[in-house]
């Protein structure tokens, strides 16, 4: 029993990481149909921000707190720049954005290699986050709990922004019907850039969280990006609840399968499950109802 519970917690913590990464993607993907392969490198930017801060600010705890907003700004800034330079020219060709942003991600990886060196680097977790809490025989790692809390906080924050602020209303309007939003006087170009800023910024926050569970390196983004896209595809476009449910479901499925088989077989089974799921709901778990033919 405790094994099952422990394994479920592992699954939930995998899901929390997936959720943090997929949250920004579902926003940018839903808004513009843009498939941003450089999202993984924005995660990397967030992680390196933490690393740089920790070298300059001594306390691991303080640097982590400073890193969260700063990584949001750094990654968000990169995202807004990318949108301004390239993506806004491509929004009628969504498939090509995948390839263009992949070119960008290659360059960003090499940039990281030139600045920080090819080997992975490590940060120190604050003392508070290194231990475990044991409740009724189940062990919760503190850093995993922190990531879970952070993921839920980000979902909450994003939900509030989308529901309550004028910007959120505009974003939702553009997602639902870009042309109608445009003729209603919404500057869709500006909304796009803000969406990209927020979505990429969330990638930066995810990067800070990832420094607590693994090494930081130039290729860290590519390890997560495909999984994150699968979450977005299964969850449905621009639907936060879809992403939340899917991320945790895939995380738990992955960890249960890993326990009963091997890591590699688990990956294959998860993929087959996703294809099977798309037979049942081709547009993902939650969909926007539109009148478009496609």
């Amino acid at each position: 029993m405790t094994v099952i519970l422990n394994q479920s917690f592992t699954g939930i913590s995998i899901g929390a990481v997936l959720l943090l990464i997929a949250l920004g993607l579902t926003l940018t993907f839903g808004q513009m149909g843009v498939i941003n392969m450089a999202h993984g490198e924005f995660i990397m930017a967030g992680a390196y921000t933490t690393y740089v801060l920790q070298k300059d600010i001594s306390g691991a705890g303080i640097s982590l707190l400073v890193a969260l907003p700063l990584a949001f700004l750094v990654a968000g800034g990169l995202g807004a720049l990318l949108e301004w330079l390239l993506i806004r020219r491509l929004y009628t060709r969504p498939l090509d954005t995948l390839l263009v942003t992949w070119g960008v991600s290659l360059m960003l990886q090499q940039l990281a290699r030139d600045i920080f060196g090819a080997p992975n680097v490590q940060t120190h977790a604050p003392d508070l986050l290194t231990g475990n809490i044991s409740v009724g025989g189940i062990t919760f790692a503190n850093n995993r709990l922190f990531i879970l809390g952070l993921a839920l906080l980000c979902v909450l924050g994003l939900t509030l922004i989308l529901r309550l602020t004028p910007l959120g209303r505009r974003i939702r309007a553009v997602v639902q019907n870009r042309d109608l939003a445009e003729v209603s006087g919404i500057a869709t170009g500006r909304v796009d850039r803000m969406t990209f800023f927020i979505g990429s910024g969330l990638a930066g926050v995810a990067g800070v969280a990832l420094t607590l569970v693994g090494p930081i390196g130039p290729t860290m983004g590519t390890n997560y990006i495909v999984d994150a896209f699968l979450v977005v595809v299964v969850g449905g476009i621009a639907q936060l609840k879809g992403s939340v449910i899917t991320a945790f479901a895939l995380g738990v499925l992955q960890s249960v399968l890993e326990y009963s088989t091997t890591v590699s077989v688990a990956k294959v089974i998860v993929l087959v499950a996703i294809v099977a799921f798309l037979q049942w709901r081709p547009q993902g778990l939650y969909t926007l109802r539109t009148r478009s033919l496609a």
Binding site: L86, T92, G103, M107, V226, V233, V275
Partner: protein
């Protein structure tokens, strides 16, 4: 579709009267290519360079399929590494077994080192038969593509969704191969292949023969692809790319049209993988994962996805640039590769093949993908 995108491919009946020059252009170009590949290159290049060219031509064979599925069909196939790998592994498994049999062993060398050491796994056994192994290099990739394509296209999973799924498949296969160290060679893959159907691959003469086989396969597939492009099916494929709904309303099933393109492209990638093994002597998960899978698309994108010759030349040029530049300036090459990709896809969607038209006509580059498929 709100915007009408003009296709870079002229419709088949725009030129009713064809001049003699026009009629001879395609066979002439084909003949020129054949002379260059079969006559000039083997005479002019050293053994080492000819072997490198053989490797690039394998990538070019993949590009023929990419040009069909992506350039004509608008299907962004990001998982060609899967099919390349299936073809490559099928071939390598047979060659490893043949090598082992030649030295009187029953198990390939890596299995004696890392494996359980007793019997050959059941799924390795049929590959001892050369005819079965050769058939599998093409049929296995086509079967996998047919299975995935059938489910995915029938449910109208499109565009980004399809691209991401095909990419995830490449990741899953690479991870699975790495995990099965004892039966697949794990991260190392199947290495150190000595013989090719009884001939010693260490002998330069036999290496040349392998080159000729690869060059012939490329020429043959290009001719076949061109015939497919100008056929009724080719027209239908372009129609599906540009407006799937209209094709559906006309009574065709777009799912079947797309499925054929995907399966044929997969078979070509499988054949390319199979030919890659004797030319290079190795197949490993590093050659078929996500990064190489996108790499297969790069060449076609830079050269011109919609133009068959453009895609093939692009694949060869990018592969050549990669091996020359990445040795001398590894960092600079990565920047250049990324930049090339951003510029080619972002600002010249027709690829270098459309550069002349763009410069001469001062037209804005046309978009080969309708964007929704």
């Amino acid at each position: 579709m709100t915007t009408t995108t003009t296709s870079p491919i002229p419709a088949a009946d725009t030129k009713r009267t064809v001049s003699r020059y026009e009629r001879l252009r395609v066979p002439g170009a084909f003949l020129l290519g054949a002379v260059l590949l079969m006559g000039v290159a083997p005479l002019a290049l050293t053994d080492f360079r000819l072997n490198l060219l053989a490797k690039y031509l394998c990538y070019a064979i993949v590009a023929v399929g990419v040009s069909l599925a992506w350039g004509r069909g608008g299907l962004l196939v990001l998982g060609q590494g899967v099919f390349f790998g299936l073809g490559g592994y099928a071939m390598a498994m047979h060659l490893k077994l043949a090598d082992a049999a030649a030295t009187g062993q029953t198990l390939p060398d890596f299995m004696q080192l890392y494996g359980t050491g007793d019997a050959l796994p059941w799924w390795w056994r049929p590959f001892a038969n050369p005819a079965f192994a050769l058939a599998m290099t093409v049929l296995l990739p086509m079967a996998v593509a047919a299975l995935l394509g059938f489910f995915v296209f029938r449910r109208r999973v499109k565009g980004a969704y399809f691209a991401i799924l095909s990419q995830a498949l490449a990741a899953a296969l690479a991870i699975w191969l790495v995990g099965q160290q004892a039966t697949t060679g794990g991260t190392n893959g199947l290495t150190d292949i000595q013989g090719f159907f009884g001939y010693d691959l260490g002998d330069p003469v036999n290496q040349r023969t392998v080159y000729f086989i690869i060059a012939a396969a490329l020429l043959l597939l290009m001719a076949a692809a061109r015939q497919l492009f100008v056929s009724r099916y080719g027209e239908l494929l372009v129609a599906v790319r540009d407006s799937e709904e209209r094709v559906r309303f006309l009574g065709y099933d777009p799912a079947n049209v797309k499925l054929v393109a995907y399966v044929v492209a997969a078979g070509m990638a499988g054949l390319a993988g199979a030919l890659f093994v004797p030319a290079v002597g190795i197949i490993s998960p590093a050659l078929i994962g996500i990064v190489p899978s996108i790499g297969f698309v790069i060449g076609a994108a830079v050269g011109g996805r919609a133009s068959l010759v453009g895609a093939v030349l692009g694949a060869i040029a990018v592969a050549w640039a990669q091996s020359t530049l990445s040795d001398a300036f590894p960092a600079a090459w990565t920047y250049l590769q990324g930049l090339l990709f951003v510029l080619a896809v972002g600002f010249l969607p027709g690829g270098l093949a459309s550069l002349v038209t763009v410069l001469r006509g001062r037209r804005t580059p046309t978009t080969p993908t309708g964007g929704t498929t």
